[in-house]
């Protein structure tokens, strides 16, 4: 067993543990903090695949900004721990369970028996490190994929203007 496999196993175990804790905790604040832990492990996977830029952005955007806003909203609403379920799960809980279980079955059916993408080894890491780094990614984004980038930029601009307009609207 090489060092890559060991690191991958540790990260995989922690992220699975975090994922299970996210859906089983009753307290929403605990769920959010476990989700942050899971995102951290994802960043670790990106680093192992050589996608260092993506790893940094994963932590910066998801763990550092979006989850903080989640936490902010949950704390402002001051959600208490819900009481124990009465009279069985609701319609939407049943629906959610069926969708999630169906998704899991589909993914398992697809990936079972197929070899994984594999992890690039450290010795050949030089190339993966270069490919996943900020420079090559930036070159691609602003040459080959410049049109999607511009579209995404316009969508984000529209969202920002919409948010400002909503916040500015005079309260009656």
């Amino acid at each position: 067993m090489d060092s890559q496999t060991i690191v991958f196993a540790i990260l995989a175990l922690i992220s699975l543990f975090g994922g299970i804790m996210v859906v089983t905790r009753r307290n929403p604040v605990h769920s959010i903090l476990f989700l942050v832990l899971t995102f951290f492990c994802f960043a670790g996977f990106y680093v192992m695949l050589g996608a260092t830029f993506l790893a940094a952005i994963q932590v910066l955007v998801y763990a550092g900004a979006i989850m903080v806003l989640f936490l902010f909203v949950v704390m402002m609403l001051n959600l208490r721990e819900p009481e124990a379920l009465e009279g069985g799960p609701s319609f939407f809980q049943t629906l959610g369970f069926i969708v999630a279980a169906g998704m899991a079955v589909l993914l398992l059916a697809y990936f079972a028996g197929r070899p994984g993408p594999g992890v690039p080894p450290f010795s050949a890491g030089e190339t993966a490190y270069e490919v996943g780094g900020p420079e090559s990614l930036g070159m691609l984004l602003f040459t080959e994929y410049v049109f999607p980038v511009e579209i995404a930029g316009i969508l984000l601009l529209a969202a920002v203007i919409g948010a400002v307009a909503l916040a500015k609207r005079k309260r009656v």
Binding site: V29, L33, T52, I57, A63, G64, A65, V68, F72, M75
Partner: protein, 350 residues
Amino acid sequence: MSEIGAFLLEKTVVGSVMFGVTLGVVAYATLGERKLSGFFQDRHGPNRAGPWGLFQPIADGVKFFTKEEFIPDRANKALFVIAPTFTFMAAGFLIAVIPFGDRIVVNGREILLQIADVNIGILYILAISSLGVYGVITGGWASNNKYSLMGGLRSSSQMISYEIAMGLAVVALLIDHGTLSLRQIVLNQTGPIWQWSVFTHPLGFIIFYVSAFAEAARIPFDLPEAENELVGGYHTEYSAMKFGLFQFGEYTHMTLASGLIATLYFGGWSIPWLTAPAEPTVWWGLLTFAVFWIKTFFFMFVFIWVRWTLPRFRYDQLMGLGWKKLIPLAVLNILAMAAILIATGGAGME
């Protein structure tokens, strides 16, 4: 010894030394803060423990460990206990990419006085410092106290707002240097003193430094713990070593923010007009290490100086400064930098 064994040994030794030295500096930063505050207020400051009060940090540590650990009734115990470690971890992770010194050659083996020179250095710093908010916000929430919660919420909105200004200030620097690696940024600043980025990015430097004050939650931006409005802010309910860890995390943040300012804008470990020898010895390594810390100490002094000189902002003033002044200024700075580079055909234009 095998290659991987040598690598692990090198990184363990370099990592332990950098971590140990940083924590030592942080411990004495608390003494420095109190000594300097005494000086600014025309009094002695701590002078009882050892000569000139030099053992004060040790005495403080003993005090923190022996005081009563108090957990408020109906607090969320698990999060209450773990929150101070979040603050400290987020600050401590930054040590990994700070270039503390140049490379040295020992027995034909090249050793970098930096734990990891990664190609995303600055992004790593921004990402990790964006996590600092978790300790404060969970600590404030878990205390089950309205003043603590107010402190935590203020802190989260303050840190998110000023991160944007800080990130935008750094973008202008990156356009100029054309790299995210902190070591490469230092190397770009070697040579005559006007190679320092502060001379090419004066506006960016000011925005970055002001944002660093807000990120470290120091006066004039210490609204998360404004004692005349919020008792003690997010750490109102904390006592003993848990409180100590919050303080320690804050001082670590201040120390590393100073180190980062020295690295990005003041040449880091480089010495003006001096180039590295072809065969860098241990002495050269120690010299660069000392130069890095001297520059860092200066910015830590400014942090303390400002704290004991300026009054605190009001909360709406703080947000106004961040969103209506610093962020537009930072965007203008980026545009100006890009325009200058296009006009002069500078770095990265080939």
